[in-house]
Symmetry: C2
Subunit: 423 residues, 2 copies
Amino acid sequence: MPTIVQKFGGTSVADPERIMRCAARVVEARKAGNRVVVVVSAMGHTTDELITLASKVSGAPSPREMDMLMSTGEQVSVALMAMALHSLGCDAVSMTGAQAGIDTDNAYRKARIARIDNARLERVLGAGAVPVVCGFQGLSPDGDITTLGRGGSDTTAVALAAALDVASDGGTCEIFTDVDGVYTADPRLVPTASKLRHISYEEMLELASVGAAVMHPRAVLFGEKFGVPIHVRHSQKPDVGTLIVPEEQIMEDIVVVGCALKPDLGRISLKGLPRTAGIQAQILEPIAAANVSVDDIVQTEFGDTTTIAFTVEHGDIADVKGTCQGLIERLGRGEIDVEIGLSKISAVGTGMKSHTGVASRMFRALAEAGIPIHNITTSEIKISCIVDRQHGERGLQLVHDAFGLAAGDGVTADMQSTGRGRR
Amino acid sequence: MPTIVQKFGGTSVADPERIMRCAARVVEARKAGNRVVVVVSAMGHTTDELITLASKVSGAPSPREMDMLMSTGEQVSVALMAMALHSLGCDAVSMTGAQAGIDTDNAYRKARIARIDNARLERVLGAGAVPVVCGFQGLSPDGDITTLGRGGSDTTAVALAAALDVASDGGTCEIFTDVDGVYTADPRLVPTASKLRHISYEEMLELASVGAAVMHPRAVLFGEKFGVPIHVRHSQKPDVGTLIVPEEQIMEDIVVVGCALKPDLGRISLKGLPRTAGIQAQILEPIAAANVSVDDIVQTEFGDTTTIAFTVEHGDIADVKGTCQGLIERLGRGEIDVEIGLSKISAVGTGMKSHTGVASRMFRALAEAGIPIHNITTSEIKISCIVDRQHGERGLQLVHDAFGLAAGDGVTADMQSTGRGRR
């Protein structure tokens, strides 16, 4: 009997009515002949409310106490979900992360899962009941409650699916969310975007890194590591969503699976730096320490000087500029140039590995529309172009369509039904 | 160094500002040279909010899931209290019931404490920190969260005080509440009522049973069993409150320590019942099973018939009448008589054991005021009189003053300072 882990996010369980609807989906999955494990997040705005409470008693709450506090959000959700399942005549047992056997390290607020003892989960499943597990939390070696940080509930779901080896009997980890799958581009920006039926872990990770916020990369990485098929689907719609699977399970020849936009970037260029070894680390380490993510790093050399340029989100520019200013003063040379109002358009697909001409197709699409490209970066399965912000959305649409991703293009209905199509 | 367990109820921690004030009291107790353990209840209306949520997903929520849900209320409180203590520069570690080593039985929603392993508490205390423990909860033998039911947080506090043997080094269990101690009568009804400095466990229990709702009897019984001195005091006032201690520690000759009123009672009389053995159990068992508390049971016999009368709260009359009607139908004889609009005035004091004339002093006070007594019941340390409701409050005041309990009466300031006075 296949085992399915179903994860419902905060919006999906925001009120008792929605919890009842999620419970109905669990019952449906059971009727379809599956063993089901449920993972839930905290209800809607609970997390924000708890953070507000904490801020009123402490300017800098201790991470341990924050985890004690925040973990109650999911605990409320699991109890209500178990009750809702009981109301529908479905046996269910709620569990904290600790009760579900999720052991983590000691890093409060951003704990890593160290081990999952699935004994109790298997016992509950064996008794024909649905374990309803708190997402986002675990137990430290000292017996304290930890939370997993960003993407924690998705990670819990994928980790439980791995611990229960759902792939071995045709099961999946279903991530229910407020979008109905992974699209070739954000449908709010690109009306012709279409839903993907499959995407590889690697592609999903790249898409997330360039701006597609469907699933947290951490959970995808976990899925990749343990080969857990992840099914992203809409919590209020019955449709099949998008399956994230190993690349070798995807049988088709689509070169680019999706495009994404990072709309608000700035570029910081440090010019006239000395060509000393380690200059890159001197610049980037203090920025990373401030938790700012830096991208599209380009280094050029001229005579005995070096120029290093990179992009950051608009909101981080002031901080990063300050950090760089300090460095230049210490070095006694160099200058800072800041450009704002940039966007980044990216195209992602494992097909790029074996196909040529992918980059030029993208450049041509932008050039034909008269959109200047300020910078280009590539990875094995990704091409990114920096453009002026006013060209961002139109450029995204053009690149998307240039790769034949628009709904109706390329893949036929017949191909979809044979499982070869991705859309 | 004395160990003090400080328990703050839901009203005392209803918002972040009050939590900060409670934290300040903890710091004060530490500065005075004590080791301090804190027990907190859920904030204000949290419990009601959680019950409402549960009612929206289930008509009859499972007790296990209710405990999973309700226990989050205290968990939020301990985290916030620990953060508040940190803000005041006081080291503190929040703990769930399970983390504090509180093992219970499996009776969800009304679990009994089976054992307390104080190892972690002692470790935290030994490190100079304040353990902040969730009231009202523990861990079942199956590793599930249980709640202790009514009076649970007070019981947690007293049980922890017992497990830490606070009495051995001059410590106490402080119950902070919204009254400033135990009074000779409810000051809202009897303006001359005065605060007691000491009361015995037995007296406190009797007073609670006849209407004084200062502390839950369960926690008092726990205190009595393990000899834990309990200090009832106001959470927002610095004053010393009332100490509940073993009778032998109270050195004075006050006969009656307090009076109380149950204002809204009804009396149900079952007349013409057969004089068969076990008739009392036949009547009272189904009433007890419905969780109705019955009091002032009087049985009289006439020929081959028996009359059994008892009092119940007004709100329970309809239910109890229905139950009794069923019994009479099954017996094929007997009739039901219901009186409503009654009140019960009680006087309590261990001094009654050795003093005579206590009852008659009470009867005379009521008689002189022309208040008819419908029924009298007594225990070793209590006398109760049933009167018409319209005489309840005045009767209480008269009886209270007749025993010399009015503020300023009897005990002198000098006696108080020698520790002999109770007020």
